[in-house]
């Protein structure tokens, strides 16, 4: 798959002051009264020393000719929508914003697979994409073209920098384009700073504290070590360093978005008081919504149905709709609306408008079923059975194992409610060693009781001699572990690893150390 990332530098100031020359310093202000701050600015303003979070007086002090405009989310969103529609109409059938809608990040993913064949090469196609953005007034547009979203994003960032510096792009393809050859993503990423990876600040700081500054250095680390130290976030960073990224033009925008709003008073003389007319209108809304979702390869996981009541009434009523599994089917969503409205007596009283908002959209399963492939299954069915298990056994019964950096032995691995279950996802390459290597390294697994159990232990010169009636054959220890005094729940334990005459390998501890009772914490198996 080939992915392009289009990034417009200074998109908010472009959108809010379209008539100003790029050489004129412009800053957009957010907030009211004394809380007004610079939220966005262009390169010319930055050159004068204006920075984000300055108040208007500070900004003007740095640059007397600074043009100040008010932040207008509607205008920014409209400019984003115009760019989105231009890209969708002229450049690629799959386009998705790469950030939160209305926040003015000015970045889009485009599906570039096969586009080069139509336009005379990938670079020519990328030039046409850039031309579409420039045509809308976004002069400082950079395009990155790569095989993964993370590489494309970083390439676009480089391309945008080259544009602003007035220099030719590094690949020699012209200003505003960085083209990563197929298969070259990992090599392209290797020399880039780790700060450019889209990962959380905590993980980034942790990785930096190890002296790792380049993405290639992170990629060279063993996955097991990264996972043990940083947990799932570290594994995700490692995957990104290997150019494995689930984001892309099919990734839905995460923010809430109004899908459609219908004013019922246009066709009806008075506010609706019964459910049936609402369901009639909803049927059409859902059909249009289905067409839209299908065209973008998405499915709805959570929706909000907002009923606007007549003026002077209680305002709006919001109903959250959660299908059992994400779907794009109008019929299923309409049924959910019907059940929701019927369950709430009086929900339809005095309704003057209907609005449908997306809360969570997910990528629709696009795996083609293979009649002859026994391994294929419906991922949605797997999600459904997990939902059933959650409903009966509780939310904390369906879990995934995660590692944690903790002092307390039992806290170094824990189970958390399952968040990411991607049965059809590509396995992480190199995540597991070969079976032969694994067999050589068959390790004891330490099984721990959730709550350590008290156990009768007799000692001979401070060394355990019997544990729970079993004679101790060998004992290793004592190993003293203490800590967490800073949490208010300190522990101070003396651990022993003992082998008994029944061939059991037990892990016992005494708490408080040297004086308290003994506990059986777990056993090796």
């Amino acid at each position: 798959m080939r992915i392009a990332c289009l990034r417009v530098r200074e998109f908010p100031t472009d959108a809010l002051a379209p008539d100003e020359s790029p050489d004129r310093p412009v800053a957009a202000l957010r907030g009211e009264g004394t809380h007004t701050r610079v939220a966005a600015l262009n390169e010319a303003a930055r050159a004068h020393g204006v920075r984000r979070e300055m108040n208007p007086s500070q900004a003007r002090a740095r640059c007397a000719g600074l043009v100040l405009v008010r932040w207008d989310a509607a205008r920014v969103r409209a400019a984003e929508q115009a760019l989105y529609e231009a890209l969708h109409a002229r450049c690629s059938p799959r386009v998705a914003p790469a950030g939160r809608a209305g926040e003015g990040c000015g970045a889009f993913w485009l599906d570039a697979t096969g586009m080069g064949a139509r336009a005379g090469g990938e670079r020519a196609w990328a030039a046409s994409v850039r031309a579409a953005a420039v045509g809308l007034g976004h002069q400082r547009t950079g395009i990155g073209l790569a095989g993964s979203a993370v590489a494309a994003g970083i390439a676009a960032r480089l391309a945008g920098t080259d544009v602003s510096a007035g220099a030719e792009a590094r690949t020699g393809t012209g200003a505003g384009l960085v083209h990563v050859v197929p298969g070259g993503d990992v090599a392209f990423l290797a020399s880039r700073p780790i700060a450019w990876l889209p990962i959380g600040g905590e993980v980034r700081q942790g990785i930096a504290s190890l002296g790792i500054s380049r993405i290639g250095e992170l990629a060279a680390l063993p996955l097991g070590g990264v996972g043990a130290r940083f947990g799932p976030a570290g594994v995700e960073a490692w995957r990104l360093a290997h150019a494995i990224d689930v984001r892309g033009p099919l990734t839905p925008p995460p923010s809430s978005q109004v899908i459609e709003e219908v004013d019922l008073l246009v066709d009806a003389p008075a506010p609706v008081t019964q459910i049936e007319p609402l369901l009639f209108v909803l049927r059409g809304m859902m059909a249009r919504f289905e067409a839209r979702l299908t065209s973008q390869g998405l499915a709805a996981a959570t929706l909000d149905l907002v009923l606007g009541h007549e003026t002077g009434g209680e305002g709006e009523t919001r109903h959250r709709l959660r299908p059992a599994r994400a779907t794009a089917q109008a019929r299923a969503l309409w049924e959910l609306c019907r059940i929701t409205l019927e369950e709430r007596a009086g929900a339809a009283a005095g309704v003057a408008s209907l609005r449908l908002e997306t809360v969570e959209l997910v990528k629709a399963p696009r795996e083609q079923g293979d009649l002859w492939q026994a391994r294929w299954f419906d991922p949605a069915a797997a999600e459904a059975v997990l939902a059933r298990l959650r409903a009966r056994l509780g939310e904390d019964a369906v879990v995934e194992a995660v590692t944690a950096d903790a002092h307390r032995p039992e806290a170094r691995g824990r189970f958390e409610p399952l968040k990411t279950f991607a049965p059809m996802a590509t396995p992480t390459p190199g995540a597991r060693s070969s079976s032969a290597e694994k067999e050589e390294r068959l390790k004891w697994a330490l099984r721990l009781y959730e709550e350590p159990r008290t156990v009768e232990v007799t000692c001979d010169e401070d060394v355990p001699a019997t544990v729970g009636g079993q004679e101790v054959v060998e004992a290793w220890g004592p190993e003293r572990l203490s800590g967490e005094w800073w949490t208010g729940r300190p522990f101070d334990r003396v651990y022993w690893r003992v082998a008994t005459d029944r061939d059991e390998w037990l892990w016992i501890f005494q708490e408080p150390a040297g004086a308290g009772p003994f506990f059986l914490h777990g056993w090796w198996d």
């Binding site: 097991g224 996972g227 043990a228 947990g231 799932p232 026994a374 391994r375 299954f377 419906d378 991922p379 069915a381 797997a382 059975v385 298990l389 056994l393 019964a397 369906v398 879990v399 995934e400 194992a401 995660v402 590692t403 170094r412 691995g413 824990r414 189970f415 990411t420 279950f421 991607a422 049965p423 396995p427 995540a431 597991r432 079976s435 694994k438 067999e439 068959l442 390790k443 004891w444 697994a445 330490l446 099984r447 009781y449 959730e450 401070d462 060998e474 290793w476 220890g477 004592p478 190993e479 003293r480 003396v494 029944r502 061939d503 059991e504 037990l506 150390a513 040297g514 056993w523 198996d525």
Partner: protein, 235 residues
């Protein structure tokens, strides 16, 4: 021709306790499609089918038998005492199957499976179910098998499975082409060994002794036979 051959192989597998493999054409001139067999009970004699199902641990493959491994859906119980190495086997097996691209579900009725070890498995393809009550473990396994997504379902602990329950699970496993492993607690093996459920006794007194192969994670930090110095302050 190919379909008829597959049907014949299936029929032979179902009717006779044999390992049915395709003979190389060179060994039987004039016949590109011939069958030969090896009697069950001698797994070493049977050549491992290329790309066949494996646990990733050769000793366990041998203990389960080539026939069990070759079946699309099958049930086995690993029984053994505490510290016999069953959990180490289980973790290695799950990691291997996930690395093969399968989706794995573990039902942990004992709530003692090691999170730190399981976390090393590709998490997006492994799900752990931890029912609060012992009795719900087999119900959870039943549900997981019905969906057909999980190619390996492991039940750790839980009630002793009766013959009827085992037959139902074996039927579901066949329908889903999934392997089911039961790790019952000591003395709760129920009807394992009958009702279509293979039985492997792990441990020094059983058929599969892993003790020589097992080692501690921190072997280098804590070599056997040495004592950690006691640095406790003396009263």
């Amino acid at each position: 021709m190919g379909q008829a051959l597959e049907a014949l192989k299936e029929a032979l597998r179902a009717r006779f306790p044999m390992h049915v493999v395709e003979a190389p054409a060179s060994r039987m001139p004039g016949s590109a499609h011939a069958l030969e067999y090896a009697p069950a009970g001698e797994p070493e004699a049977a050549p491992a089918p290329s790309g066949g199902w494996s646990t990733g641990v050769a000793a366990l493959d041998r203990a389960l038998g080539a026939r069990w491994c070759a079946q699309p859906g099958a049930v086995a119980a690993l029984v053994g005492e505490r510290s016999s190495g069953r959990t180490a086997l289980l973790c290695a097996l799950c990691a291997h199957r996930v690395a093969q691209g399968e989706v794995v579900a573990l039902v942990d009725a004992t709530r003692t499976l090691p999170a730190a070890v399981l976390a090393r498995i590709e998490q997006r393809r492994a799900v752990v179910i931890r029912p609060a009550r012992d009795a719900e473990a087999l119900w959870a396994a039943d549900q997981l098998l019905r969906v057909g997504a999980f190619r390996l379902v492991v039940v750790v602990g839980g009630p002793a499975p009766g013959e009827v329950v085992l037959r139902r699970i074996a039927g579901l496993a066949r329908a889903a082409a999934a392997k089911v492993l039961l790790l019952p607690e000591e003395g709760r093996q129920g009807a394992a060994g009958r009702a279509g459920c293979a039985l492997v006794h792990v441990g020094a007194r059983g058929t599969l002794d892993l003790a020589p192969a097992l080692e501690f994670e921190d072997e280098d930090r804590l070599p056997a036979g040495t004592r950690i110095p006691d640095r406790r302050p003396r009263a």
